[in-house]
């Protein structure tokens, strides 16, 4: 059961006060009656589910950073790149700003987001906080709009279509890891609604202080 305490909630987009139901059934959304903003989504086993999927996604990210990403051959010359080179190459061409952006959007921020949610959930189980959960929750709300894993994936596909006409391309393990990572990340984000997340953070805080 997903227990949401009966309490008032103000819609983020129109400020209407909404009485949150006691329980939200699995995979159904609570919408604002006035502006239709999605306020909360029910999930029967959100904590374990989010922890498991986030952990999987983190492993995929490690895989994506470890192996080679794409290799490209033309006129008997072969060049193989890994994921990190998509921004280190920009860095060596002295486009530091764009390099930092690409690094943050595709790698750093999604990883931080997943690590934060894992730490929060683990704190609710273990009864102590390694990193203060409230800080992690705030961090998550700030970085979410800037996580662009799925956008990067589309970028990769477009780039591949561009180059297939001029050279031979082979897709390496790290590419496939990212192909799974990006949609999984989007899915995890859709399951963590802020309502539930802050319930966990309160639980984590209560465990460690009480």
């Amino acid at each position: 059961m997903n227990k949401a305490q009966p309490h008032l909630h103000a819609c983020l987009e129109c400020d209407l006060l909404v009485n949150m139901p006691d329980a939200i059934s699995h995979r159904t959304n609570v919408h604002c009656p006035r502006c239709n903003h999605s306020i909360a989504m029910g999930h029967n086993n959100a904590k374990q589910y989010v922890l498991a999927t986030s952990f999987t996604a983190l492993i995929l990210m490690v895989v994506a950073c470890t192996f080679s990403f794409i290799s490209f051959s033309s006129n008997e010359q072969i060049r193989t790149i890994n994921l990190l080179q998509t921004f280190t190459e920009l860095y060596t061409q002295e486009y530091y700003f764009v390099a930092v952006l690409v690094f943050s959007f595709i790698l750093l921020l999604p990883t931080l987001y997943l690590t934060s949610v894992c730490l929060i959930i683990l704190s609710t189980f273990r009864g102590f906080e390694i990193v203060p959960s409230v800080g992690l929750g705030k961090l998550m709300s700030y970085i979410l709009p800037w996580s662009m894993a799925e956008v990067f994936l589309i970028g990769v596909l477009v780039a591949l279509i561009k180059v297939t006409s001029m050279a031979d391309i082979s897709l390496e393990p790290s590419f496939w890891a990212y192909v799974i990572f990006a949609p999984l990340f989007t899915h995890i984000v859709s399951v963590i609604d802020s309502h539930r997340l802050w319930d966990w953070i309160e639980q984590a805080g209560a465990c460690s202080h009480g």
């Binding site: 909630h9 103000a10 987009e13 209407l16 502006c35 060049r79 920009l90 709009p145 279509i161 953070i201």
Partner: protein, 210 residues
């Protein structure tokens, strides 16, 4: 408007019930509170100077969109010959080569989406300052679309990042990033922050006051 007033009772919002909503953790607090009890974020009933901030960021974005289109986004060196291409130039090139799909993706992500987003934000800011009847529901929907499509404009920057990393075969074929990549990335960030700063609740305040 009159019919509306007679048929409906005044909607209860956080603001007219003496409450303020925390934008980070979504907990309600008394309107006099300066900081959220749970996450210590500074509280304010509406985002202060929301329209002015959105508009100034929007103007910055529009101004930067000019160099983003004038300067080359990348330069290709093929057997000693260097060709520079702008965003639009790149699209034209792909059309000439018959790669309609790539041309369409770049056209949508780099031209249509940013321009549509700028128009949408300008329209939202204009409506928010207008005194008489506005369509809150439709405008809120427009805002949601604007917010959702925001990061997808980054596709072109990612495509360039991948091409630059991948195509480095020295004299035979290599790609260098151009200044427009930086300008365009800033345009996307500015429009994203501008959308984020826009407070849709001020649209609904008009209904609540009638």
């Amino acid at each position: 408007m009159h019919v509306h007033m007679v048929n409906s009772i005044k909607p209860k919002t956080a603001a007219n019930s003496g409450l303020v909503n925390c934008l980070v953790c979504h907990q309600l607090a008394p309107i006099a509170a300066t900081h959220c009890q749970r996450c210590n974020t500074a509280l304010s009933s509406r985002v202060k100077n929301s329209v002015q901030i959105s508009l100034s960021l929007l103007v910055t974005a529009i101004l930067l969109y000019i160099p983003a289109n004038i300067y080359p986004i990348m330069s290709t060196e093929l057997l000693g010959k260097t060709t520079q291409s702008t965003i639009i130039g790149g699209i034209v090139l792909f059309l000439e080569h018959g790669s309609y799909f790539v041309a369409a993706v770049i056209l949508i992500a780099s031209v249509i989406v940013p321009i549509a987003k700028m128009f949408a934000l300008a329209w939202l800011c204009y409506c928010a300052t207008r005194a008489d009847g506005i369509k809150q529901y439709e405008l809120t929907q427009l805002y949601r679309v604007t917010e959702f499509i925001g990061k997808w404009s980054m596709v072109d920057v990612f495509v360039v990042a991948i091409l630059v990393a991948l195509i480095q075969l020295g004299e035979i074929m290599s790609i260098k990033v151009g200044f427009a990549a930086t300008a365009f990335a800033v345009v996307v960030i500015m429009t994203m922050v501008s959308a984020h700063q826009f407070d849709t609740r001020i649209l609904w305040d008009r209904v609540d006051q009638e």
